[in-house]
């Protein structure tokens, strides 16, 4: 039986209480992307400033949500700031792979291997969110900001 300490790791609470890169960027030029979790009403706004070389020059996070969605967004912003779009995409894939392990088990399959694992991507602090997979209804909280970031990168590349 997973306990609350699996979910509310100290580093998660730290990012929740002291969110990094909290705020807004003037938009335009920054790209503004909204993400909603229709189940619970959480919303995240990602402000994304990409330079001409395809680097995440700056990123800010606004919106409201639970400790899991807010800490995940905070850690995400720290992880992708200064990274290339390609590196950011690999982080997104690695994070979602970590989050999807348990979803597969829920489907009844015993698949243990993370899908599309990015073996050489270091998740660092983000690994603290691994405990979320033991609380399946909270996975969407953890992935909200990542899906929103992915949407922003997709939109930028489509232009």
């Amino acid at each position: 039986m997973p306990g609350l300490e699996d979910l509310y790791r100290e580093i998660i609470l730290d990012h929740y209480r002291n969110p990094r890169n909290r705020g807004e960027l003037p938009s335009p030029p920054a790209r503004r992307v909204e993400g909603f979790n229709p189940l619970c009403g959480d919303e995240v706004v990602v402000y994304l400033d990409l330079d001409d070389d395809g680097t995440v020059e700056d990123i800010k996070i606004a919106g409201q949500g639970c400790s899991i969605s807010q800490s995940s967004a905070s850690m995400m912003s720290s992880a992708v700031k200064g990274k290339s779009v390609e590196e950011a995409r690999r982080l997104i894939r690695a994070f979602k792979a970590m989050m999807s392990i348990h979803e597969q088990r829920l489907d009844g399959s015993e698949e243990e291997e993370p899908i599309a694992a990015e073996a050489d991507v270091k998740l660092g602090d983000l690994e603290a969110l691994q405990g979320v997979v033991k609380f399946p209804v909270r996975i969407k909280c953890a992935t909200l900001s990542w899906n929103t970031l992915a949407q922003g990168l997709d939109e930028a590349q489509a232009e």
């Binding site: 979910l7 619970c40 400790s67 899991i68």
Partner: protein
């Protein structure tokens, strides 16, 4: 007159189970209630001894099944004091009941510029069907605001109600617990020449319901919030209105005759019951009504007002300013729905921590996003009380909130 909670709890098999090592403290009946053995048995008995489709077989089982299904309709009729069973339509839930009114009555009676008056505290079920009509045909929607005590602000009622064709309001708010002044609104609606619709989802399970005395024209409620199964709800409507309304869903069961070039609908109530109905669920709802009437709806209400008063007092005393309760302060002005936020702890996290103590509370927007915006929050936690809850349950909630506070304290 009171509810013997210990005896009631024994009638609900689910209270035998343990959650995370604790006894189950179920405080989410506003979302869906638990079911007594009598309801489960009634449904099993139908399937085990009398099951067949209704209104078709001339054989014994078909007759028994039909009698049980129509018997449930008679129980509903008595339960809400409806003048006739012809006015009692089985639906899937309240959402379908209101959609039925919006699609059938609304499409026949509302056009460009016609107005409908709702309130800021409506559940999406009594918002979206009307928003659809606004988009489709330019129906104007107006909204009664709420005041500082989370009750309807009727200051501008005369102006807002002028010229509207329908007034639709929740009997009890599923977020605030507010018990709305239904008779007053019914009279105002009728004086303005409008029909009066009540979303009774949170009302019928908790307050003795008399659709005639309330003065409504349509009243919807759902089985699963009143000890019955999911998949069965009720729309009551005045017979002359239902008679004039076009059919909603069409196909099996609801027709009198079909030719290759046309069809005629069945008479009421079957005109609005297309396809094979949830027969066991209707029987289960009937058993739930028997159970509630045996406890007594007046006793249910009295129990909930007194337990709500205890909960409001106990929560406020223990948690003070850290706790914000979104709902009327006076227990008699509300139902047992207690929405709250806790300083520094998001409602999802409140719910997660409470779960660890075996306490079930809902967290989220409660399908009332416009109200959440009005309250200036994204979500609330919500504890809701019913006949199987007592002060000990409130005490467990109260203590478990300490753990949320401790865990998230800065």
């Amino acid at each position: 007159m009171s509810v013997d909670v210990a005896a009631v709890k024994k009638d609900f098999p689910i209270f035998d189970r343990v959650v995370h090592g604790h006894r189950l403290v179920y405080l989410d009946s506003a979302s869906s209630s638990q079911k007594p053995r009598a309801v489960l048995d009634a449904m099993d008995r139908l399937y085990e001894t009398s099951y067949a489709n209704t209104h078709r077989g001339v054989y014994e089982l078909g007759q028994e099944s039909t009698a049980l299904y129509e018997g449930a309709r008679e129980k509903v009729q008595r339960f809400i004091n409806a003048p006739s069973t012809r006015e009692v339509l089985f639906t899937k839930n309240v959402t379908e009941a209101i959609n039925l009114v919006a699609y059938s009555w609304g499409r026949a009676n509302l056009g460009e510029g016609d107005a409908v008056l709702l309130t800021e505290m409506e559940h999406h079920a009594n918002l979206v069907p009307w928003l659809v009509l606004r988009e489709e045909r330019g129906v104007e929607l107006r909204f009664l605001p709420i005041d500082d005590d989370y009750q309807l602000d009727l200051t501008d009622l005369d102006r807002l109600i002028d010229g509207v064709k329908l007034v639709g309001v929740a009997g009890i708010s599923n977020v605030l617990g507010t018990l709305n002044p239904l008779r007053q609104l019914a009279d105002a609606a009728h004086a303005a020449g409008a029909l009066f619709l009540v979303d009774g989802a949170q009302y019928a399970p908790h307050v003795r319901t008399d659709v005639v005395e309330l003065g409504c024209d349509f009243f919807g409620f759902t089985g699963h919030k009143m000890l019955g199964p999911t998949g069965i709800g009720v729309l009551w409507g005045r017979e002359e209105l239902l008679d004039d309304m076009p059919a909603f869903l069409t196909g099996g069961e609801m027709i009198r005759d079909v030719r290759l070039d046309g069809w005629t609908p069945n008479e009421l109530p079957w005109k609005f019951e297309a396809g094979t109905q949830p027969i066991a669920e209707a029987v289960g709802l009937g058993a739930a009504i028997d159970y509630l009437e045996n406890v007594g709806l007046d006793a249910v209400r009295e129990h909930e007002v007194s337990l709500t008063a205890y909960a409001l007092r106990a929560l406020t005393e223990r948690h003070g300013d850290k706790l914000t309760i979104f709902g009327p302060s006076e227990p008699a002005a509300r139902g047992g729905v207690i929405s709250f936020s806790y300083e520094g702890v998001h409602p999802h996290d409140v719910s997660q921590v409470l779960d660890e103590a075996g306490v079930c509370v809902r967290a989220g927007h409660h399908c009332a996003k416009p109200l959440m915006r009005r309250l200036g929050v994204g979500a609330t936690a919500r504890a809701s009380l019913y006949i199987y809850n007592d002060e000990a349950d409130v005490d467990v909630l109260n203590e478990a909130l300490d753990e949320a506070d401790r865990l998230f304290a800065i």
